[in-house]
């Protein structure tokens, strides 16, 4: 089954672009098309050649062993780049959840009583083993999730390893992290993670939990279970005590059953705000502690004194990285009025050199949309944006593969703050461009959202950075850069983007009880 071809009615930038920047009379006559006239030299296909065998059926990982699910239900895990079924994944049942939580509970006293430096050894070993098998994990992540191999190879897997390394360092230093307090683990943690960075999110969740002496039941997202299950192989290799980490695959029902389980002490969730709200309701009054890392509609603000080419590059990375499946994606762009035409021109030009296609090709910049449901959601937003009167721009090469889920990197101009595409999280490669006149206006419009995960400021002026950063309601504010992460730097949201922090000293707080 292919997807409908892109409509050809997408207007070019020509039609609504103000004519040239100020004082540049003839600008409109020299379009970027002149530059990209014909392709003289193109990159030959450079596919990643390692083949990673995947079993036809996957089990669950409970109490240190791979085991079949109690139920008989399986669902397919699909390669979104060609819609081929990679494997059948077990849908864990209530009974599976009970078994996993029991295993975690049983393992808790022993794991919590281990001296910190002993727990650290396991985490170090885990990190090292992950590095050794990095290429295999990168290929698997790309197969299962559709993200470019370049990203899984250079970002997802190395960052995951870094997270384990970093938290291994904390395991025997918790007394120094919380001076003067007695540090105890929270207990059994239920962790539910999203499909945009499957292994990396598993690392974000597992590393601090394990370092602090907790045991875990982890549920990867329905569409991306494979790397989490392969991580279980590593857990066996490093001889992590049985039950310390249990992995259950499944959809929303499995997640709900896990979240609602009475023997769970802590619930950590990364995903949509919609699901997050439900989980918060189910946890209310149960005594479970809860951290949520939810959606975002993060603003990027470019001032006229910014280094424009670098700002545009940052915007591109901010919204098209991982097909826009990033909770902190810079999906709203505010450009100071005087430089709007120039920024749009540069954005358009840069988009033409983005390479969309086979995620397994080392030169691919933008891969496949993770799953059909998400693809449909993005298409609906594109349609809605147009019907509300915004102008859609898709300027890249429009030839996309016939099979698989694809979306051309897109941006909207003529967007009003009330438009749905300016308010709701699209979670795809779609940018809403708006302009502003004064810093105060930029601030007001940037903060005018239910979300508050991240923000970007682009200016050459230091004082403006501090002024803006202090008043933007966002968990992370990046200045003259975007999507920068580090295991030592806390990440999390304001408002409906959730609460609790992950990473750094602050991230440990959610996984300890202080006495």
């Amino acid at each position: 089954m292919g997807h409908p071809k892109q409509e050809s009615t997408v207007p070019s930038l020509e039609s609504d672009k103000p004519q040239g920047a100020q004082g540049e009379g003839e600008a409109a006559s020299h379009r970027f098309d002149d530059l990209a006239a014909e392709t003289l030299w193109d990159y030959a296909p450079a596919p990643e050649t390692v083949s990673v065998p995947v079993a036809d059926r996957q089990g669950l990982f409970i109490d240190g062993d791979f085991c079949p699910s109690d139920g008989k239900e399986f669902f397919p895990s699909i390669n979104p780049a060609n819609e081929e079924v990679l494997s059948e994944i077990a849908a864990a049942t209530q009974a599976d959840v009970d078994r996993a939580v029991q295993a975690a509970r049983k393992a808790l006293p022993g794991w919590a009583a281990l001296p910190g430096h002993e727990r650290a050894k396991y985490l170090f070993r885990l990190a090292r083993r992950l590095q050794e098998r990095a290429r295999e994990f990168a290929v698997l992540e790309t197969l299962d999730g559709g993200k470019p191999i370049k990203e899984s190879r250079d970002v997802d897997i190395p960052e995951a390893a870094k997270h384990f390394f970093y938290h291994a360092g904390w395991a025997d230093k918790l007394d120094y992290a919380f001076p003067g307090r007695q540090v105890r683990p929270v207990g059994v943690c239920a962790q539910i993670i999203p499909w945009n960075f499957p292994l990396l999110m598993a690392a974000w969740k597992l590393a601090p939990a394990l370092a602090c002496g907790n045991t875990v039941v982890l549920k990867p997202a329905e569409t991306t279970s494979l790397t989490a299950l392969r991580l279980a192989e590593i857990l066996q290799e490093i001889e992590l005590p049985p039950g310390v980490v249990n992995i259950l695959t499944g959809g929303g029902e499995t997640g709900a059953a896990l979240a609602a389980h009475p023997k769970v002490d802590k619930l950590a969730f990364t995903g949509s705000t919609e699901v997050g709200k439900k989980l918060a309701q189910s946890a209310a009054g149960t005594g479970k502690s809860l951290t949520l890392e939810l959606g975002g509609k993060s603003p990027n603000i470019i001032f006229e004194d910014a280094s424009l080419d670098q700002a545009v590059e940052g915007v591109i990375q901010g919204i098209y990285f991982n097909q826009g499946h990033v909770c902190c994606a810079g999906s709203r762009l505010f450009v100071q009025e005087g430089i709007l035409p120039e920024v749009l021109g540069k954005l358009e030009w840069r988009l033409k050199s983005l390479r969309v296609g086979d995620p397994m090709d080392k030169n691919t910049d933008v891969g496949a949309i993770n799953n059909r449901e998400q693809w449909q959601r993005i298409q609906d937003y594109l349609q809605q944006g147009r019907s509300e009167g915004a102008v859609l721009h898709q300027v890249g090469d429009s030839s996309l593969p016939d099979r698989g889920f694809w979306c051309q990197p897109s941006f909207f101009t003529g967007v009003q703050p009330s438009h749905v595409v300016a308010r709701e999280e699209i979670f795809g490669p779609v940018l809403a461009v708006m302009s502003f006149r004064t810093p105060e206006e930029a601030l007001q419009r940037a903060n005018n959202t239910p979300y508050g995960l991240a923000a970007g400021i682009w200016t050459d002026k230091g004082s403006k950075i501090f002024e803006m950063a202090g008043r933007l309601q966002a968990g992370v504010v990046w200045c003259n850069t975007y999507n920068r992460f580090d295991a030592s730097s806390p990440f999390g949201g304001f408002k409906e983007s959730g609460f609790g922090r992950e990473g750094g000293l602050q991230g440990l707080r959610a996984y300890v009880k202080l006495q």
Partner: protein, 296 residues
Amino acid sequence: MVAMRQRTVDRVAVDQRALSFTRRSIKREAKQTGLKLALSMVDLTTLEGKDSPEKVRALCRKAICPAENYPEFPSVAAVCVYPSMVPVAVEALAGHPVRVASVATAFPSGQAPLAIRLAEVEQAVADGAAEIDMVISRGRFLAGDEKNLMSEIQEVKQACGPAHLKVILETGELETYDRVRCASDLAIEAGADFIKTSTGKVVPAATMGVTLVMLEAVRDYFLVTGKKIGVKPAGGIRTAKQALHYLVMVKETLGDSWLNPELFRFGASSLANDLLMQLVKQMKGKYMAGYDFSEA
């Protein structure tokens, strides 16, 4: 004159972007084509006090036919010599498409009175140089005298007559990307046909980052005026792999229409032989020894 906005450049982000071009995977046909393209863009250069007519003649032969056993490989773009060697090079290259380029204007420091520098340019052109590589007065530019930079380039351009003018910014002495961008904009506006990074006598010479800043200046100028200016990184580019990284950067910053010797050059002496080595490896599947390719 076109009013250009004063640009600022973020060094960290430029270097990061420049690094991203080195991550492209260039294999098979793409590599073969890229290597040939790079060879055709080389300005074979010798700029030493001990240069002899014999060495210049050897360089010219190398320029026409980089590898005698492989006549299918393209000639390089030009031979770049001191003004005193221009007549020798013109004679050696007579009847061939390879151009004679001459450094001038008291290369490499530029520390001579303007009249003398202009006379040097006129002499080199009169002797048959088709391209002039001038150096700018970095001292006065760094002191804030941007007007002087404009006027001296304009005068040199006039002295060049029909010859193409390459303006060497000597980016290693300008230090900041902001200054590189400013000098690029001024040189382009003053009439440069090419902007060139370095003399090769100052470290650091060409880097990916500095070249990217210059490519961006060229692109912005094109978008305003429709005129295409060339770019020449010089010094420090020794390997075929580096050359391919630069081609990737040109392709993704300016587009394919800049991928020809009229608009992009490499100022280098040892690059040509590494390109040949890799080209032959592509064809034969094995490396030749260094001595299989002639020195020049």
